[in-house]
Amino acid sequence: MPIFNSPYFEIDKKETKRYAGLRNSDFDEEIIDDACELARLVIKPTGIWEIYDYDSKTQTVATTPPFKLQGNAIGKHLNGCTKVILLAATVGIDIENEITSLFKEGKYSLSLMLDAAATTAVEQNADLMEKAIKNHVSKQGYNMKWRFSPGYGDWPIEQQHEMLYMAKGDEIGISITESLMLEPRKSITAIIGLYIMEESCAFTSANRERHDCSQCNKLDCPARR
């Protein structure tokens, strides 16, 4: 199971604003800057991943024991893939404590922005992992689908348990509650489908796909694109 601790990255302020639900409105830039800088100080971006064979007919990942993916959305998404990557990533627990204590101090807006910055950091961390993984798998002739997580479409969130277990999320400090929430909260698990390219290259960037908000049924999400 390779570990990937993202090298230094600046937290994307535009995305932070989006996750805070600010859309395109103006907001005190100083608070956004403070939140992104503070987030940078307390996040510990890390991740873990592994490649497995995948049978798209039976929607089964060749883990031990085999892991059958439920739902049509994930099946459709991974159609034609012969391998998949299971990954788990987190930015750690410290930032959560910081969000909570800031709110208690009455710094409501900074706390909210920090929460959004943390979400942004989780995604950026996963994006960087994906970039590194892409480099790795494309040398073996594979292209990547975008990452898909339990709860997207009709993929039941109940499979979060197996996802985390198979991705060995515990090795980077992620656990799961009885009600299927990841802890630290700012964590993700995801599956990425791999399909064969005709000509291989270390850096194929064609067909770069990304998360598609239209797949999600949370229509009133404040961060919906």
Partner: protein, 790 residues
């Protein structure tokens, strides 16, 4: 001279059917060397003058995938032999590709393991008779450094360093072309270049960026354009003609080694040859080598024509007990915090000193350098007097560091300068000798001559030096200031190298040291100080710097100076002033709407002075403001963060009122018990609802998150709650809401129940038997107000 590399090999093996599934492509060197030679020969016939061995994946770590690690030497030697057999007048470059893993702290591979790995491969390639070592397709500057150090250690061959950049112009691990070029140039790379990842068009600016930062020859081996998806298959679109046309442009941009990578064939190489036929190697202007220091992802230039760069001095345990203790116990929390805070305060570089007694300082330096570089992109200065500590820091650092410091003391000259050369570090030169400190500027120049000539003799060049002006104490030496100023001037006249120094020594023993320090600072900046080592939190020094920049023309016409709020007469009072046209009550209301907590104390004071009652203030300003905000929020004119800023202003107002009229305390609008239900650990949304309620005059009992139904019910009863607010974020936890409502009803409690959370809907709330569903925090507040008005 212009050299032509070859193109892709793997695809040609594939087309010849030589690579069955699961077969290691490098084993062909042993199993079928004639086939390897024949592919090489196709490239030689097409015009290649340098061909690359079939050893991209032939390092022991990479061969481990096939269980072939122990055959690495044999495979590499065979590969060179197969390449040499392709022609007589060709050069052979021994290819070393990535390990496929990342070096710590990014990944789990130890730097030393990567280093040993490449030592094995480079030794074999050299022993086989290669003419160059080619480190290629690298995406991790740290891995490149390990391979380059290894190649330099075990061979005398020229080393070609080729990195691969993604579309955003950086490597996967964040390195830009400039940083790459100056880092490997300083470490002794002989040819610097780029291959794979992008087509010639995208690599043209990369080649330009490299050529602006090194005088070493440059190589470029693009893919045949950007891959495209055609009928579900990835293909490289660029034909040989088009590909060849880029060759003269790449040559003009500075690359004299031209070749191809993925998607290119012997026909592409022939097209390069044709396109550059008859062209001369362009003559490149010599570079003015400036001092550049870099982290993994950022280069900072220190030069007389550029703004002053601050070197933050705070990561130094001398005289700081807490910091020293943390370094000793390995927690490093303050080290990391100082790194972040100094960068925030304007430091461009960070000095790192681990001088704590009784610890393994080399280990501590390695750890500090590693951790700080994950946290910030400010380049680092390794500050130590111990060569072992220095080497530990330099080896671990993924970039080009600055060494603090090299004096004319025998030990420093003998031990520090070779380390600077080996690791490509710049040096901070301190005019000290074994005999002591030279007092006059002229004597200091003499000492500086000794240091610089020793360094140049060892291979350091212009652009590797930062000169220390040396500051003595004016209380004991009347000429201390004048000599330092003169030293700075002489440095600039004689060498043209940038200068540095710590300043505070000047005022030792005098009263009002900040005044002396900042005045001295301004004088030094005028005399040519480029990169002071200082405490970036020091306002007096920062102000002196800002004013000096305006005076010395580095902040043209004082533009930045004029923007700084603290330099403006009106400053913060402007916020209060803008409310002047409003009545005192309106002004308070407006401040809440604007989220202006800072002006609140003054505005409330103003309102109370006109005889307004606190009740009136609450009703007409605070509640009214919240209503307006709710309307704006509902209409999508403002969003949650703005609402929360207003809530902060409300909070400030209530705190002021509570303080002034303690009797008001506890007289709430009504009591709300609020909780995130059992099994759910999300509480930010619930906290936001709580903040709005509390700052609108409700008495709030916040039970927190993951709260069992029994606890919510008993709290509602005990506190005679008017309202119970329940939050659940996920479909997996919202069923617990049903349970809480059921138990509330069974207990006979008549509190009104409001429910909310991301996964909830009106329908769900109705079925669960809730009285109200609140889609967002503002609606929750409106509902709570409605309930109490009934």
């Amino acid at each position: 001279m212009i050299h032509i590399f070859d193109g892709a090999m793997g695809t040609m093996f594939q087309q010849l059917g030589l690579l069955p599934t699961g077969y290691c492509p490098e084993m062909l060197n042993i199993d079928n060397p004639d086939a390897v030679t024949s592919v090489h020969k196709q490239y030689v016939d097409a015009g290649s003058t340098v061909i690359e061995t079939n050893t991209f994946g032939a390092s022991p770590l990479k061969l481990a995938h096939y269980g072939l690690s122990d055959r690495a030497r044999e495979i590499n030697i065979a590969a060179v032999k197969a390449a040499k057999a392709a022609g007589n007048n060709i050069k052979v470059a021994g290819s070393m590709g990535p390990t496929g893993r990342f070096i710590k702290p990014v990944g789990d591979l130890d730097f030393e393991d990567a280093y040993e790995n490449y030592k094995v491969q480079a030794t074999a390639l050299a022993d086989g008779g290669a003419d160059y070592i080619l480190i290629e397709t690298s995406i991790d500057l740290q891995e490149m450094r390990a391979a380059l150090l290894a190649a330099k250690e075990v061979t005398n061959l020229p080393v070609i360093c080729q990195q691969s950049f993604s579309e955003d112009g950086r490597t996967v691990t964040g390195t830009d072309p400039q940083t790459f070029a100056i880092t490997v140039d300083a470490m002794g790379a002989d040819i610097i270049g780029v291959n794979c990842s992008l087509g010639p068009e995208q690599l043209l600016p990369v080649v330009k960026a490299i050529s602006e930062n090194t005088e070493k020859p440059i190589s470029v081996q693009p893919n045949a354009g950007m891959p495209q998806l055609v009928n579900g298959k990835t293909t490289f679109p660029m034909g040989p003609e088009d590909f060849g046309e880029w060759a003269p442009k790449l040559l003009q941009a500075g690359a004299t080694y031209l070749g191809g990578c993925c998607g290119t064939t012997p026909v592409h190489i022939a097209a390069i040859k044709k396109a550059i036929a008859g062209l001369e190697e362009p003559s490149f202007k010599p570079l003015r080598r400036r001092l550049m220091i870099s982290s993994r992802s950022k280069t900072v230039t220190i030069d007389k024509d550029l703004p002053t760069r601050l070197i933050g001095e705070r990561i130094n345990p001398t005289g700081r007990k807490k910091l020293a203790a943390e370094i000793k116990n390995g927690s490093f929390l303050s080290v990391k915090k100082e790194a972040m805070d100094q960068v925030k305060a304007g430091a461009s570089l960070l000095d790192v000193n681990m001088g704590v007694g009784g610890i393994d300082q080399a280990q501590a330096m390695k750890k500090a350098v590693t951790e700080i570089s994950q946290l910030t992109d400010a380049p680092l200065v390794i500050d130590t007097s111990d060569a072992t500590v220095l080497e530990a820091g330099l080896r671990a650092y993924p970039g080009r560091a600055l060494i603090n410091s090299v004096s004319a003391e025998k030990e420093r000259l003998e031990k520090f300068i070779p380390l600077a050369k080996k690791y490509g570090a710049a040096i901070l030169c301190l005019p000290l000798t074994d005999e002591g400190i030279p007092k006059t500027a002229e004597e200091r120049i003499q000492v500086m001559d000794t240091i610089i000539s020793a360094a140049k003799k060892a291979g350091l060049k212009d652009g590797d030096f930062l000169l220390d002006g040396l500051v003595m104490t004016v209380a004991t030496d009347v000429n201390a200031c004048n000599q330092t100023l003169k030293t700075l001037q002489l440095y600039r006249e004689k060498y043209g190298y940038p200068s540095t120094m710590g300043l505070s020594n000047i005022s030792f023993g005098l009263p009002n040291r900040p005044l002396i320090n900042s005045t001295f600072f301004a004088m030094c900046l005028s005399a040519g100080l480029d990169a002071p080592i200082m405490n970036p939190y020091d306002d007096a020094m920062q102000n002196a710097l800002m004013a000096s920049m305006a005076l010395l023309g580095k902040d043209p016409n004082g533009r930045d100076f004029s923007k700084k709020e603290s330099n403006l007469a009106v400053a913060k009072t402007a916020a209060v002033a803008k409310h002047i046209e409003l009545t005192p009550l309106e002004a308070v209301k407006q401040a809440v709407i604007d989220g202006d907590a800072d002006s609140m104390a003054q505005l409330i004071e103003n309102a109370l002075a006109t005889g307004v009652e606190p009740n009136e203030l609450t009703e007409k300003c605070l509640t009214a403001a919240m209503n307006d905000i709710g309307v704006d929020f509902g209409a999508g004119r403002i969003f949650l963060p703005q609402v929360l800023l207003s809530a902060e202003a409300m909070r400030a107002a209530f705190n002021i009122l509570k303080e002034k009229f303690p009797a008001q305390d506890g007289e709430g609008k009504g009591t709300v018990v609020l909780a995130t239900v059992k099994g759910d650990v999300h509480d930010l949304g619930k906290n936001i609802v709580g903040a709005l309620l509390e700052n609108s005059g409700f008495k709030l009992i916040d039970l927190g998150k993951d709260v069992p139904a029994e606890e919510i019910v008993s709290s509602a009863i005990k506190n005679e709650a008017d309202i119970v607010g329940l939050c659940a974020l996920m479909t997996t936890t919202m069923t617990e809401i049903d349970e809480v409502i059921k138990q509330l009803k069974e207990s006979g409690n008549t509190s009104k129940v409001i429910v909310g959370g991301a996964a909830l809907t009106q329908d769900y709330a109705d079925e669960a038997g809730a009285d109200y569903y609140a889609q967002d925090a503002v609606i929750a507040l409106n509902i709570a107000n409605e309930i109490m008005d009934k």
